[in-house]
């Protein structure tokens, strides 16, 4: 019997840089919150971060904190506190665990960085392109901290994106400027904004190049690595730090491709993962797949995190495009096509749909998509039930059996 460690590829050198980036990110926010020397904006993960950076805000991402609550398995215990306030256990468990964490004053930042409180915001900014839950989540904090709440209300379920969609979103982003100027206490700086857009675009291009190395056989990394290394693409998007990080990571990945260093030794099967990660089970699932000689080479979650449409020459319009062309904003036909193309590009033998109980927005097994993909392209699909953060919605044994049975099916 192989021990889990034997199934694993060597750790990434970039991992050390990653740790430092995450530490610097939180420590800088914590220092700013204490000194009040810089203004802090809380932003949804696919919110208008470039604009916020352009206006000199330090940016904090509640979703990133919530994912940490999931990964450290603190979430499940904290969720009921928010439930008691009237936030249903059926809605986003990022929201419920994060609000629970705030109320119970328990954060993974304490253990990791010695930080005991979240950096108090001066403003909260969301985009409903991903879901409605972010606005309710942010609205709660806006009431709690008595600070302004700003939002972009996106069109959703889009097939072909029309110019009026983009004009509307671009205008909404632009309309944030006067409020943000007032809160920031400084005028809008176009050049700085354009620079953030440029850095975001470069980050996206590098992130894409990193992900594309997983198309190689054997793949040098898997979805479980992607989910971790995506951190800087979220929290440092629009900064030089992210650019340098992905340059380092890309070099390392290319070296692994050259030396045929596999994420999963003796890789036999390749899967596509649709849906959110199950944060508290990343390690366990990664080991399970490795023991089954299976590499999850691509995912909707990580692979759709690319905003190359950004263009510093037309920052508002290109931001509107980047944040509207996103997978999660699109209709079923688009999603079907997107997954099919990625399954092909990343040489996947099957698709695993994680139907995440509390995030319908990232769960694509609910309207017959797996069945359509299986019947149209003959690709095997499996849907598992779980959740991003609420481990009460996840049956580990049942899922293990399903995954093993799925791999057996691919082998037969």
């Amino acid at each position: 019997m192989k021990t889990p460690a034997e199934h694993r590829a060597p750790a990434f050198q970039a991992g050390k840089t990653l740790k430092k980036i995450m530490a610097d990110h939180f420590l800088e926010l914590d220092a700013a919150a204490k000194s009040r020397e810089r203004k802090i904006a809380w932003c949804s993960s696919v919110g208008p971060v470039e604009l916020l950076r352009g206006m000199g805000f330090l940016v904090y991402f509640p979703e990133n904190h919530a994912a940490m609550l999931g990964a450290t398995r603190m979430a499940t215990e904290l969720i009921p506190t928010a439930n008691a306030l009237g936030f249903s256990p059926e809605i986003c468990s990022y929201l419920t665990s994060d609000i629970g964490s705030y109320l119970r004053q328990k954060t993974p930042l304490s253990k990791a960085y010695g930080i005991n409180a979240l950096p108090k915001p001066d403003v909260l900014v969301f985009n409903t392109n991903q879901c409605r839950d972010v606005q309710d989540w942010f609205a709660w904090y806006a009431r709690e901290f008595q600070v302004p709440l700003l939002g972009i209300f996106s069109h959703r379920d889009l097939g072909k994106i029309k110019d009026y969609h983009l004009q509307d979103i671009a205008k909404q982003i632009q309309d944030l400027v006067p409020d943000l100027e007032r809160i920031a206490g400084r005028p809008f700086d176009l050049e700085r904004f354009q620079e953030a857009v440029r850095l975001s675009k470069t980050t996206s291009a590098l992130w894409r190049a990193c992900l594309e190395t997983a198309a190689e056989r054997p793949s040098p990394w898997s979805f479980f690595d992607h989910s971790i290394h995506m951190g800087p693409a979220v929290v440092a998007r629009g900064t030089q730090v992210a650019v340098e990080y992905y340059e380092q990571l890309l070099a390392e990945l290319r070296e692994r491709v050259r030396t045929r260093t596999a994420a999963v030794p003796d890789e036999q099967h390749r899967l596509y993962w649709d849906g959110m990660p199950i944060w508290g089970k990343l390690r366990a699932l990664s080991e399970l797949f490795a023991s089954l000689k299976t590499c999850v080479t691509a995912s909707t979650y990580c692979n759709s995190w690319i905003y190359e449409q950004l263009d510093p020459e037309v920052p508002f319009k290109s931001m509107a495009r980047a944040y509207t062309e996103l997978f999660i904003v699109r209709n079923e036909q688009f999603k079907e096509q997107y997954i099919r193309e990625h399954v092909r590009a990343y040489h996947c033998d099957g698709i695993l749909f994680h139907d995440s109980k509390t995030c319908p927005n990232n769960s694509n097994a609910r309207y017959g998509l797996p069945q359509r993909l299986q019947s149209v392209s003959g690709i095997a699909t499996l849907a598992i039930n779980g959740d991003l953060n609420d481990l009460r919605c996840y049956s580990e044994e049942q899922t293990k059996t399903q995954i093993e049975a799925f791999i057996e099916q691919l082998e037969e």
Partner: protein, 276 residues
């Protein structure tokens, strides 16, 4: 264990389910020589061994003469004697295809979960689904209802057969169904009508898990002990429902068949999906 070719060729399959452990012993002609069923209890390894020994005993054989032993089921990794594990999904499929070699939809009703497995006409699995984390439609649901009705599980089948006017239970959830059952008791509805209603509700939960293509095969311990379920399923679906000879043993049977097939294809003997 003797893994070399044996003159008699003896193949064991042990299915350690969350509720019951099943063991079968087959000869190389796939004939069932002995079997046993035990409550899985808390010591899966011990129960698996006892169950296997009992099956061997009934077959008039000893463990020394085993050619292979394949384990399946929830506790498959706990079977010490087995070098090979296969999921119960694979084993039910293998077992059912042995009895009905055709394209089919298998519905396995277990003590704790249900599975719908689709096979093509050469027995290859195309797709499968397991129930969500909910007892609706599983053996656990029946047990809960028997408890509410103060009935022994084994009395349910003949009671359900006597029903003239079935009670409708509409809830999806086991707890809500229990409340509905209590309400029907309060209203003085006949016990047999309530039991049939319980069967009906359970079948509906299972049959609506997926489309029912080709031949429909019902298997698993619950059907073994409640054969009226298969008859009701025929009425509900309007098509014939096939049931293998020993529905509770299908998984263990399939496991033993895996061992037999691996033995007859020595090149694939290492094709062990279980990382034991």
């Amino acid at each position: 264990m003797n893994t070399a070719h044996h003159a008699t060729g003896l193949f064991a399959g042990v299915d350690v389910g969350a509720s019951r452990t099943k063991a079968v012993v087959l000869d190389q002609k796939r004939k069932l020589l002995g079997s046993d069923v035990l409550k899985s209890g808390l010591d899966f390894s011990g129960t698996a061994e006892t169950c296997l020994q009992a099956a061997l005993h009934k077959a008039g054989m000893s463990a020394d003469s085993l050619t292979s032993c394949v384990a399946t089921g929830y506790g498959r990794k706990n079977v010490r004697r087995s070098g090979i594990t296969k999921t119960e999904i694979a084993c039910h499929a293998k077992g059912c295809f042995h009895f009905f070699p055709m394209a089919m939809t298998i519905i396995d009703i277990g003590g704790q979960d249900n599975k719908v497995i689709k096979l093509d006409n050469v027995g290859r699995r195309i797709h499968f689904k397991m129930n969500r984390k909910c007892a609706a439609g599983t053996g656990a649901f029946l047990e809960e209802m028997a408890l509410r009705l103060d009935l022994a599980l084994e009395d349910m089948d003949h009671l359900a057969r006597q029903s003239q006017e079935m009670v409708e239970l509409g809830s999806f959830c086991t707890v809500f169904s229990a409340t509905e059952v209590l309400e029907n008791i309060r209203q003085g509805r006949k016990i047999e009508d309530i039991v049939k209603g319980v069967y009906h509700s359970m079948l509906k939960r299972v049959l609506e898990m997926d489309t029912l293509d080709d031949a429909v095969v019902l298997t698993g311990g619950v059907v073994a002990h409640n054969p009226f379920l298969a008859e009701m399923a025929t009425v509900l679906t309007g098509s014939e429902i096939l049931v293998p000879p020993f529905p509770q043993l299908t998984g263990a049977f399939g496991a033993a068949l895996y061992g037999l097939e691996l033995e007859s294809r020595p090149d694939t003997r290492q094709a062990d999906s279980g990382h034991t």
